[in-house]
Amino acid sequence: MKPAPFEYVAPESEAEVLDLLGRHGDDVRLLAGGQSLVPMLNLRIVQPAVIIDLGRCASLAYLNDENGALVCGTMTRQITAERSPDVRQGCPLLAAALPYLGGKAHRNRGTVGGTLAHADRLAELPAVALALDAELIVRSEGAERTVAAVDFFLSDLTTSLEEGEMLHAIRFPKAGTTARSAFAEVGNRRHGFAVVGIAAALEVDSDGACAQARLAAMGVGATPVRLAAAEQILEQGSLSADAVCAAGDAAAQAVDPTDDIHASVAYRRRLTATLVQRTVHEAMDGTRRAAA
């Protein structure tokens, strides 16, 4: 499986990238880490006339602390984010999810922005972005806009990025001392893509009760989805085993998965309930426990 021919350009500044994007219309693809794009090129699923390699734009890879947010430049390698003390401290949900992104060889080269812009419905970071209400900073020639995660992911492999636009950076809210988070996914094999995954971000109050719950699930829709029904139950405050169980069941009822060769609708619902319980328990007590 060899790619179709393309023109290749590797600009060294973001300005140049945006200029090229503006000029080449829709027959262009940005090459970030390539771990998602190149398989598609090799299979000839996509055949852009022009590939713009972001690998020479050093200014696109950064991790900055800005006003209570962690801003991650699009070309930050996943392994860099995974190992960053700032990420571990300031955005524990992101740190928890990153080890699930493929294997080490993928994370060495794959980028935080690349996987978000690619928006595979089974990718982990879109669910993390949704759970954290992250903001995606989008740039085009001469313009910048900020898109809330909930508005960014439109469908499988489809985002609200328009022609001429690129994802510049992602702003993740920093977790305070009251934040509790966990990430879990289960697939048909221990290593590999998930059938269902959940990113859970909770806020507790001074009594240890749940003040806020954000749960985003991947694998139950064409985009990651917030599990509002579960969140409502959890935000009633109690995190007893019964309450968490009820939250899981509510989530399972509310989601609308499809079946495929890997898993049935019933299984996806069941897994949703199970992973709600697992992530909430792990977020609260830091350990993985068997679900009830």
């Binding site: 499986m1 179709a4 289960v186 094999r189 221990r190 898993a263 299984y267 069941r270 068997a290």
Partner: protein
């Protein structure tokens, strides 16, 4: 003094040792040479195949103008063009009840499965070849497709081969006399239907070939990633109408075979035919998508079993109704008969079953052809009989191990002839079971197992597989199967060079199983030279004698047998020469560690080199009167009917009650393959097979939709086990040596998967037995397992 036909009992010294492998020297350091590594002559042409996107359709038109116009594309050829160069592939079987199929090397008029080639692009390099493939526009007139096994077997199913008028490519029945009466006399009759999903071998190296010609087309050399170079050679000669002696088939290093590469494929014909046509080397390397779409599939089986038992759980009568999905063509050389005939005959396992009948069918469908994949019906057959053993146990309330003990063939019954005529020569069925149960701590496990099997949120169970394995088939065995294109024998040429080093040329082909080491161990012992002084050549029809090559766990038996016999002839000549030089009787000479010497008198010795120099007339000492020059022998060995290996696998699993994932917590094997050449290599074969079984049971399945589209032709979606999925496998050995072949060897390549599939399935079944779930199919993905759990708990 006649040449002995058996090795001396005390001659096995290096055989039996875990000698580290010779081939690691090149494979570990990046110096392996697989078919895509073979140096390409500068004017090599590269092929790209245009594959049908339709499962069943008439080919209406092929427009290749745009492809031909592409710089770097030499030509595009269709099925009609290739038909002028090569005949279609037919198995030519001589087997009653088999309906043969004809497969054009590139489809003409009709396509019969998604992935069947309809045109070939000839280009300057592989990238341009793919560009060309994209520019060939084919119009099809789609026809209804028969895809699933049961659907394709129906009378009203779309017919794959019109001229046959049916999709039943084989129908065969058998019964012992008085079977109905035997059933009538049973206390209970237990019925179950076992269904297994389609899978494939998926070697890490896809296939490929490089065809070159020499001497103005009088020589054709085909490098191909195959397990069967001699079979490929004779097939090519026939289909190309080309002198067989002008063809040389070479296997370079092969990145895994597993039976997938023990088939003859159309691309091998196309590469060869086009090399002859253009007078230039022609190369083709398969990609992973093509590998999954078009390489032999296997194991889409249904077994409907009825077992009549007495009050003790002993089987007094059994029936087996089996179907196998054969795909679109009867594959070459084993055909559509391979799985269905094997399944109903092997299902008897190591059990004493006297009253038996079967009906078996091979069903054609608009899917990739099926054939041999490691184990070849034995894994599913043992799944069926071992599943019945557990059901017998549950029915009469005894332990599953006890149900087996009551049915196993006892040691004193060996040699044992089954009712279908298979002879079990030697074996250790009861001993292996006892030992395996002890290894895994079976009694304690059962004693501590709660009725509902649930511990810490996981259902835990233990599963057993006792199996017999068909190995080492020779001429009689292949004739009995009707395989007219398989000779059945193998050959070895053992040559001592004038420097005293030994080279053995054996008609097998290596694909990772350690031929360069284990065959060298045999030769070193039988010629009496150090291991380091022996080298092995396999996989080259230009160098080795004729033979049947490597599949069905026959390499050790047939290659080892031929090598031993040739070695014995050479050794005998060495003794005669030594005797003459040393002026003693040949009866007093022994070969040991590079010396030919008078037994017990090391001072009276000659080195192998000194003997060889006499044989090659390079010394003043004359060759003894009546001897011929040179120091070599060729033997063609016929192993006859198979020798039967056996083993017991026991697996302990934990099934997560919430998410249905399975962890294999313990895995023990007691394995008997007769005399072991290299224990380390045997263990490696068992590990590999058992993990393939784990894949087969837990995660592998090739899924076609109703239109015949393969849904998961990538490794992202066809899941293979990784290092996180496996148990550390514990192995013990028994050696029930057989007299059936000179080495006393039995085959072993397939045992890991044969034992693993039933053991793992039964373990999961046992784990869920406490809640009353019935487990009778593979694969058992988490989704299926939770469905079984919910169904049993009344939650659906």
């Amino acid at each position: 003094m006649a040449v002995p036909d058996r090795p001396a009992a005390d001659s096995w010294k290096i055989v039996g040792q875990s000698v580290p492998r010779r081939e690691d020297a090149w494979l570990l350091t990046g110096k392996g040479c697989y078919v895509d590594d073979v140096p390409e002559p500068p004017n090599t042409l590269h092929l790209g195949f245009v594959l049908s996107p339709e499962a069943h359709a008439r080919i209406v038109s092929i427009d290749a103008d745009a492809a031909r116009a592409l710089p770097g594309v030499l030509d595009v050829l269709t099925g009609d063009d290739l038909a002028a160069l090569a005949q279609p592939i037919r198995t030519g079987f001589l087997l009653e009840g088999h309906r043969d199929t004809s497969r054009d090397v590139i489809a003409r008029e009709k396509v019969r499965f998604v992935g069947e080639a309809v045109a070939v692009v000839v280009a300057e390099n592989p990238y341009v070849a793919e560009d060309g493939v994209e520019r060939v526009f084919v119009t099809y007139d789609p026809l209804p497709a028969a895809v699933g096994l049961e659907a394709a077997a129906r009378d009203d199913a779309p017919v794959v081969h019109e001229e046959l008028g049916t999709n039943i490519l084989l129908e065969s029945t058998f019964t012992t006399e008085g079977l109905d009466e035997a059933f009538a006399g049973a206390t209970h009759v237990i019925k179950e239907t076992f269904r297994t999903g389609r899978i494939a071998g998926v070697p890490m190296e896809p296939r490929g070939c490089l065809a070159t010609t020499g001497r103005a087309g009088e020589e054709l050399t085909l490098w191909t990633s195959t397990q069967i170079p001699n079979i490929v050679k004779t097939a090519l000669a026939k289909l190309l109408d080309y002198p067989e002696s002008g063809i040389r088939v070479i296997t370079p290093d092969v990145g895994g075979g597993f039976g997938t590469k023990a088939h003859f494929y159309p691309e091998e014909v196309v590469c060869s035919a086009l090399a002859l046509k253009y007078g230039r080397p022609v190369k083709w390397i398969q990609d992973r998508r093509e590998e999954l779409l078009t390489n032999i599939h296997a194991r889409e089986h249904i077994y409907a079993i009825e077992a009549g038992i007495d009050t003790d759980g002993v089987i007094v009568a059994m029936r087996c109704d089996m179907m196998a999905n054969a795909g679109a063509y009867s594959s070459y050389p084993f055909g559509a008969t391979l799985e269905p005939v094997g399944g109903v005959r092997f299902v008897l396992g190591p059990y004493h079953i006297c009253n038996y009948g079967y009906l078996t069918r091979a069903v054609a469908s608009h899917t990739c052809p099926a054939g041999a994949y490691r184990g070849t019906a034995q894994p599913t057959a043992m799944l069926a009989i071992e599943g019945m053993m557990d059901r017998i146990a549950r029915k009469i309330g005894i332990d599953p191990a006890e149900a087996r003990r009551r049915n196993l063939i006892q040691p004193e019954q060996l040699p044992y002839t089954t009712v279908v005529g298979m002879v079990y020569d030697t074996g250790s069925y009861t001993e292996a079971l006892a030992k395996a149960l002890e290894m895994i701590g079976y009694e304690d496990y059962r004693a501590n197992q709660p009725a509902d099997r649930l511990i810490d949120g996981k259902y835990r169970g233990i599963g057993i597989c006792c199996y017999t394995e068909n190995s080492g088939m020779g001429v009689a065995a292949v004739r009995a199967r009707g395989w007219s294109t398989l000779p059945g024998f193998d050959g070895a040429l053992v040559r001592v060079a004038s420097d005293g080093k030994v080279k053995a040329f054996i008609s097998h082909a290596a694909s990772g199983q350690g031929h360069y080491t284990s065959f060298a161990q045999i030769v070193a012992d039988q010629v009496g030279v150090p291991f380091a002084d022996v080298s092995i050549v396999v996989g080259d029809t230009g160098q080795t004698p004729a033979g049947t090559n490597t599949f069905a766990s026959r390499g050790t038996v047939t290659g080892g047998g031929a090598a031993i016999r040739a070695c014995l002839v050479v050794a005998d000549k060495m003794k005669r020469i030594a005797a003459q030089v040393l002026e003693v009787s040949a009866d007093d000479i022994v070969l040991e560690n590079g010396l030919t010497m008078v037994q017990g008198v090391p001072d009276m010795s000659l080195t192998v080199r000194e003997i060889a120099e006499v044989a090659y007339s390079m010394t003043s000492h004359a060759l003894p009167e009546g001897e011929d020059y040179g120091l070599e022998a060729t033997d063609h060995y016929d192993a006859g009917m198979p020798t039967i290996a056996n083993a017991v696998h026991v697996a302990a699993v934990a099934v997560d009650a919430a998410d249905g994932t399975v962890e294999v917590e313990r895995y023990a094997v007691v394995h008997d393959c007769g005399r072991i050449i290299n224990p380390m290599i045997v263990d490696g074969q068992i590990h590999g097979g058992a993990v393939q079984a784990l894949g087969e049971v837990l995660m592998e399945e090739l899924v076609y939709d109703e239109a015949g589209q393969l849904q998961n032709a990538t490794l992202l979606e066809y899941l293979l086990p990784t290092a996180l999925d496996i148990p550390m496998i514990e192995i013990a050995h028994i050696e029930s040596v057989t007299d059936e072949n000179p080495g006393g060897f039995k085959g072993l390549g397939e045992g890991g998967v044969i034992g693993g599939v039933p053991a793992l399935t039964n373990a999961i079944a046992d784990a869920l037995a406490g809640i009353g779930a019935n487990v009778n199919s593979n694969p058992l993905k988490p989704s299926r397992i939770t469905e079984l759990i919910d169904g049993a708990l009344g939650k659906t």
